[in-house]
Each structure stands twice: as structure tokens, then as C-alpha cells.
């Protein structure tokens, strides 16, 4: 069981926290422009690496605040904890962020207001 340093409350047992899944899944701003397939990459697919993972947690039975974590899923080592809305600063976290397939998806481009969908107007 993990010992997690909540940025607001300090070290607490894992049982006080809720796991929130993959971090940095940007929500598309103009989802109507995405095809069903592109939308499903945002909606259903999660990155699931063996190794360094960027994930979200909330201190559900404490301050109820959300934060991000860089964690090694093999060793359970917590490499970095950083605020929502920011990117990791550790080398491991940066590398994990860059190597995530999600960075290349149409859903993420849509969320950033970048290029239009590659598959046309969508469903």
C-alpha cells in the first residue's frame, strides 16, 4: 500500500485517496468534429505502460483536492507529485509524457484547438 504525500495535507495512507486514472487526457473542445473512432480514443482508451505512468489522484477522504503523480507501475515508486493543470518536471515524467501515444491523437489536437480531424467531419 502506497504512502502518498498530498500536496496540501502531507503524507497519508493510500486508503484516503481515490485513483483517477491517466493524467493529461485533454477533453476535446469541439468534439462534434471528431469521428467516432477519434472520440473513442479520448473516451475509452487508456495508456497502460509497464513503467513510468502519469496519473491523477484525489485526496477523497481528506481535503478532496486533485493532483497529478508520476509513478513507476513496476516498483510503485512515486517519482513526482505536481498540481493539476501543469506538466511534470522530472526527467522520467517528461519522457513519459512525450512518449504517450495520446500526444499524436486527433482528440488531443482538437482539445488544443489545433489541426482539424484527419477523418473529416465525424459521425
Amino acid at each position: 500500500m502506497l504512502m502518498i504525500r498530498c500536496p496540501w495535507c502531507g503524507e497519508r495512507e493510500e486508503t484516503e485517496f481515490h485513483y483517477g486514472g491517466e493524467a493529461h487526457k485533454l477533453r476535446p473542445l469541439n468534439a462534434d468534429a471528431l469521428s467516432d473512432r477519434e472520440w473513442s480514443e479520448y473516451l475509452f482508451l487508456n495508456h497502460n505502460p509497464k513503467g513510468v505512468y502519469l496519473e491523477r489522484w484525489s485526496h477523497a477522504r481528506g481535503c478532496r483536492r486533485w493532483f497529478n503523480m508520476v509513478r513507476d507501475t513496476v516498483t510503485s515508486e512515486i517519482i513526482e507529485i505536481y498540481p493539476m493543470g501543469s506538466l511534470p518536471s522530472s526527467p522520467e515524467g517528461k519522457a513519459a509524457y512525450e512518449s504517450n501515444w495520446r500526444r499524436q491523437t486527433a482528440a488531443e489536437a482538437n482539445a488544443k484547438g489545433e489541426a482539424a480531424s484527419s477523418e473529416g467531419d465525424g459521425a
Binding site: M1, R27, A31, D36
Partner: protein, 1002 residues
Amino acid sequence: MSTQRNRRAEGGRIDRERPFRFTFDGNTFTGYSGDTLASALLANDIHLVGRSFKYHRPRGIVGLGSEEPNAIIQLGVGDRGEPNIRATQIELYDGLVAESQNRWPSLDADVGAINSALSRFFPAGFYYKTFMWPASWWEKYEHFIRHAAGLGKAVSERDPDRYEKRHAHCDVLVVGGGPAGLAAALAAGRSGARVILADEQASFGGALQSENDVRVGGETSQAWIEAAVAELAAMPEVTLLPRTTVADYHDHNYLLAFERVTDHLGPDAPAHLPRQRSWRIRAKQVVLATGAIERPLVFADNDRPGVMLSSAVRGYVTRYGVVPGDKIVVFTNNDDAYRTAISAKDAGAAFVTIVDVRAEAAAGLVAAARDRGIVVYPAHGIVATRGGRRVKEVSLAPLTEGGVGTGRIDVDCDLIAMSGGWTPTVHLHSQSRGKLTWRDDIAAFVPGLVVQAEASAGMANGTFALSDGLAEGDKVGREAAAAAGFNGVEVAVPAAEEPAQTTIQPLWVVPGLKPLGRGAKHFVDFQNDVTAADVQLAAREGYISVEHLKRYTTTGMGTDQGKTSNIAALAILADVLGAPIPGVGTTTFRPPYTPSTIGAYGGRDVGALFDPTRLTPTDPWARSNGAKFEHVSQWMRAWYFPKDGEKMADAVNRECLAARNAVGIMDASTLGKIDIQGADAAEFLNRIYTNAWLKLGVGRCRYGLMLKEDGMVMDDGVTTRIAENHFHMTTTTGGAARVLDWLEEWSQTEWPELDVRFASVTEQWAVVSICGPKSRELLAELCDDIDLSDDAFPFMSMREGTVAGLNARVFRISFTGEHAYEINVPARYGLALWETLMETGEPYGITPYGTEAMHVLRAEVGFIIVGQETDGTVAATDLEMDWIISKKKPDFVGKRSLVREDLVKPDRKRLVGLLTEKPEEVIPEGAQIVAELKPAPPMTMIGHVTSSYYSANCERSIAMALVKGGPDRMGETVTIPLEGHPIRATIVEPKFYDPSGSKKDG
């Protein structure tokens, strides 16, 4: 009652002044305070304690502690019975009742022993090979296997004992209180660090307690142990936990330990103490001084009762004053067993013989043995044993390169003390994800790569010499304390004197008179009856991965998890493969180290304390008025209020009629209530609900539907604008916490720019709902500061005022389709409000109704219940609720998914009503629906019933259902194919009463 024929007149740490009586398989024996069940049985010359798992061979006590594979016992009777306890760890108390296991009808005459005669037909992988085909026979096989393969009997009564759990933090956790562990705890404790020292035995000292031929710091070993424990006990930051097994090692140095608080006291256990206590320990540093477990030698028929581990024999002699045999053959591949021979001989054993597979042994020990008249056979092995319920004779022969030489000698014996060397107890190190390294010089795996903040010391680390172990414990303990921030003074480690030893010579399988697998059995795993021939066969059949071999042969899969057997199995596999032992690898050690009682995991979180029970403000009234209750998530809600012995159906019918014809009253306080404030509160709601919220006027209410991002219905409820930037949201009873979390998540993670805050106010407001044609008149009697006219207080609005003298928020909303009010007052006034309404409402025929009537009433007007009509796969569009799904809003949670290909398919299951052909017939909820009835399954199912009731107001049954393409099937007849009596029903709109909705408005 028998005498303790194997008990010496003196010696051992038992109290001969305190005899205890106990029974084993119905026979009464005596032992002493300080005995274990095993030592007391051996004192009475009882070796046969069980039958083996597969062949039902007679089996005796093998070990001294938690490594015991054979002597697993059914302890106690009735609701305090417990199966599969190791006799070697059961501390004796007066009146103890124990039974052997896995024998029928009795230990002496066991019918299953026929399996042994048939053993040619029980090879490795027997279950896989035999019981696979034909598959249809599996049910027959299973019955046979379960009957034949059981160990103890599970107890069916409720456990009467109390358990506790406790959390602890420490700087240094020392696991194991032998010499290395004591040295580590002393070093860490002297630095001022907070130390927990846990040991599975009743007393500290570990294996050193068995040694009477060593001196530590010039004292006897026992004197040093006692001084060390006394020094530790005097340290305020040190916690000593005897009888405590550290069983689990998890991430971030989180360990679970199980303390047997009163098990050793039996019926004398004080009532204020729990039976067992689980410790959840978070340690900055962990020292593993878990010792080592002696290995059996794998020789012909090495499982007869009377064949024991050498270390166990020595322990029974020195610790318990029990010499478990008169004619002892010590069989060894190392020097340590010579000490057993010497101590047994000194304690009065008549004949002692040493059989050593090695040609050379430590000269001092050999001389000491021969001085005592002990015969030593170097370079010999035991090649056969004889004896049924007790070993009575062995055959010795010279060992040659790869075989047995000529010159067989038969020796009478009633006890064999075997030693195949020592396996460091690396379980916890391995659980912590540490790696293992093979050491040829001791023929054992020792801790290698360390992953978490832990270190091993003493025998657990392969450091077998006592003085080295003490020094290592001291060093590791001091380093652990320093790593935790405590630097202590260095105190000289006491020197230890012990007999000098030379090296082990591994011999993994001792050859017999015939080739392996013919005639005699060479057991590797006693508990699961796995032989060397089984392991070899499995390896030849291709099970060369150690994990596959384990599962195929079941070696190491008993309740002892192969503590004595794993290394021999690996070595035999390696031999067949021609690979070095470390090349074969090890199986994964998994928690717990020894079986743990489930009760100790749960602690006090059982029964009424398992989960909180929440009571509504009117609970006392409902109870004193005979209400029946039902659980709704954590809440206890009044289900219905039977009058004068009414049956449930009659009560519900009466309540439903009253709610539509007079006044119904119910406690709706369990509704989730969330106070939402902030400049962007309306914008936030606009994104989280499917409908529009920006233009909702102050004092107005709106029904909202909340979706998951995948378009599926998550929750619903009415939300009211209290002020420009202030809303009061209601949720379903069961969804309150989930919705609050949901709002927080979207607010913090997706839209942090929105100024909005949330607080649960579920517990702060009592909600009393009154409905029915006379509800307005009733409210008017108790409220004179709110204009109740339709113009001033229209449907779907809220007014603040005074009701029955209480400050109240009154919501004109309706879940029954009737003219209705939900009156909110501070929770502590809820009961007062209820009682005043009941009293004032009496002339109006006020009738309390429960959750069952509420369900019927809302179904009559076609309102859904989230969790009843929905199950996480039902989209908003499936519920014919398009009217609430905004077409204009650019976005809301779940919007994009509603146009996914799968969600716009015409044949999705969608909400409809059902009317049975026979009006009195009520369909069971959950029933499947078919379009075409066939004589027998399979039939194509087109939907299922979600809600179904008898409606007194409609004077017939009504039902709601999800049916494929349902709205396009209006008027069609479908069938609910119940066994023996199919029900025919017509698909209709899911509105059965007042379809125009005029009553709630009027």
C-alpha cells in the same frame, strides 16, 4: 490417561508444577505449562498425528515451529473450532481439545490409505490427466475429489471471538527475535529510534533457545537472551511483540503482522482482550532476521511417523525436556545434526547413531559424539525405512558415486533426525520484490538485490555462525536506525562460543535400494504428497519452468507453502535439466507467510460496524409506529407502515390510494443534497447537466439529468436556484457521494477557471414530503408567510418561510405526479415537523407512506429511478427523455457520445410500459422478454422488466421495461417466458396514471 514416557525428569523451559490435561482424538493426555501441543504429544510418545493429503499415509510431527508440514490439526470444537493449525505452534492450555485431520474413519484405520497401494495410478499431474475427460463427468469427479482431498473442516457457526486491528509507525521494524534480531533491535533501540520487534514464537531467542552447547558473552545463551529482552523491554520507544507473525510485506514498507493475543490462554482468556490483533505497520526501515528453516533429506520412505527434522528433535530435547525416541538415527549432510545427536544422548536416549553422507565431518563434533558411545557412519545413507505407524528399522548402505555400494546394515530405530542443510527464510525479502542469490558454500538462496528500505541479518542472510550473526544483526540494526535518522553509540557485540563446523555436502536425492519411483517413495513435499519421482516425471514431460512444475506437481502449494520442500524440488528439476540450481529460478513468494485468520484482517469492522447505518430524523417515529424498513445504500428507510396486522401488499395499496386521494407524507431526507455556490455556478451546472440552466430564475427549480462522458445516465434530481450564484442540488439517495466527487473532479481537473464550490448538506436538512389533493390545505394550516396560490407559488418553485414555527425551504416539486411539497427544515427539527404534520393532518386523512409506495406512485406516472431503470448501459436517449437533452448547448458532459454509432442504433433497448393481459398478474422485476415464445430455451430475448408493481390507483398491474426498439412496437404483444406460466403483455407508453400531468400542476 497415559504417562509422559518421553519426558525427562528435569530440563527444558516447561513448568512441571502446572500440569495440563488435553485431548487428542478423544484420548486424554497430560502436558505442562510451556508445552506446545506437539511437544506434549511427543512427551506422550504420540508421533502419528495425521494422514497425508493424497495417499493417506500415516504422518508424524516433523518440525518445531511454523515450518511444520504434517501436524496440522483441527483445534477446538463448535463455534471456536479452527482447522489446519500447526500443532507445533499451538501453545498448550488446560482442557485443550484437538483432532487429527484428513482421516476416515479414524487415524489408525484409514480407508483412503488404499490410495497408497494404488499410487502407481497417482502420478504427477494426476488430476489433470485423469479428470479432464469426459467434461460432463466433472460434477462426479468434483464430489470425489472434494471428499478425498479435504484438510480440516471449516466451521459453519458465527465466530464468537473479537479481533482488533491496529496501525503503527516505527523507525525500525525488526522481524524475528533470534540472536541477530535481538542484536539488531538492541543496536537500533539504543540509538533512541522507535523500534518494533516481532517474533512468531511465544518467547524471544529464536533457534538459540534450542542450543545448550553455546555461550554468548561468557553466559549461557538463555541468560544472554533474557538480558537482551530485559534491556529492550526497558526502552520506552521499543515495542516487543511475541506471538506475532509478520506475514505480508507490501509497497512502501507497509507490513502486516498478526498477533495471537489470547490463543494460548484457551478458555482463561480475559474478556477484555481480543483473540488476535492485526498490526498494519509502516516502517521507515525493516530488518529481516527471520532465521532459516532446516531441510529434510529426500530418502526412501522418509515420511514415516518418527522421521523428524534434526533441529526439531534438538528443540524438543532442550526446550521441552522431551526425548522423542529411544533409538535415534541421525541422518545428515552437515555438522549441525551432530549437536542433535549429542544433546539427545546427553538427555538419556539409549542408542544414537549418526549416518553422514559425507566422508569427513568436523573433528571436534565427531570426537564428542564418539566419546558418548554414538556410532558414526561416514559416507553412508539411509536406503530404506520400515515401520507402519512409526518407523522401526532403517537400512544403511555406503554411498558411492551416483549409487549405493554393497554392505547393507539394518539398524533398529524409533526416531530419525534428518538434516539436509538450511534454507534462509527469505519470504519477506522476496515479497518486498528483493531478488535472491545462490550461494554454493551453503547450498541455499540468500537475499540479493534489495528494492525497498530493508536489510537481512543472521541466518536469514545466510550468516550461519552465531558470532557472525550477532555482529551482522548489530551492524544492520545500527545502519537501519541511522538511515531513519538515529545515530547511536557503538556497544561491543558479545563474543559467542559454539562448536566449530565444516561445510555441507548437498545430496538432493538419497538413492534407495531400487530405482527412484519403484517401491519406496522419496518425499519432497510432505503436505501435498509430492515425491522426487513426481518432480522428475514432470520435468521429463516438459514442465521445465519452475512455476509450471509447481502447479503441475502441486509441490509447495500446501498450507505450508513448501517451507521445507521448495529447494529440494528446484534442485531435482535442475538435475533433470542439467542446469545449475540458480539457473532454474525460484517461484514467487506471496503473502501471507503463514495462514492468517480472516477475523484479524477485519478487526472490529464486522456486523453492525462493518458499514455505518444512517438513520433519518423521523426514524424514532417510524420505529414506534411499526414501520418495516429497507436498506437504501447506507440508509435505513421506512419501507411501508402496516396497520393492524396488514400484509405488505395491503399496506402499500392503502398508502398509494391515500397519497392520491387525501394526503400522503414521507421522509425524503435521504436525498443527496449539495450546496453549490460561486459566480460560475450556473455555467458549471449548464455543462454538467444535459439541459439548460443559465436562465433559470431565482426561486425556480429544474429537473436535471447527469450523464457520464459515455452518454450513459449517471444520476438525476431537482436543482433549485436559491440566489443568483447559489444553487441547491438534490441527487439520488445512493448517488450523493458519487455525485459530489463527480462535481469536484470536473471543477478541479477540467474547468478550474470556473468559480464554483460544493458542500454536502445531506445531513443538514430534513426533508418531509407531503402530496395529494389536500396537501395544500394542510400546509396552509401550518404556514402563514408563504402565499400558496398557484400564481404566487407555481409548480417547480421554492419559497422560504415558516412551517409549524420552523424556518423552512418549501419546494413545490413532485415525484408522485400529485400536488406536492417538499418541506426542508434543519435536520434536528425534522421529527418535530413530522409530528406536527401528522397531528394537523389527521382530519385530512394524512397517511405515512414508505419507499415501496413511493416506487409505485412514481411508476404510475412514468418517472424513472436511476439504478432501477438504468444500469450504467442505458443512455439518456434510451429513456425517451430527449425533451431534457439540449440541442442548443455547444457542450455538456456526455453530449458527443449520444451520437455515437452504437447509441443511435434503432434496435437499442428503450424504455416502454407493459400491461399484462391478466390485470392482476404482476411480472417479476428483472424478467426477460421475448417476442416469440418457444416451447423451451433458447429464445431470442428482446428486453427485460425494470420495474413492476400492482397499482391500486390503476386497479391493475403496471410495469416498465427496456425493449429493443420499444417505442416502435407500441401495441405489440410480447411474452415473459416464466417457467410453467408465460405472461403475455402489451407494450404501451410508460405512463399509467394521469398522463396529461394535470394533477401535479393543479
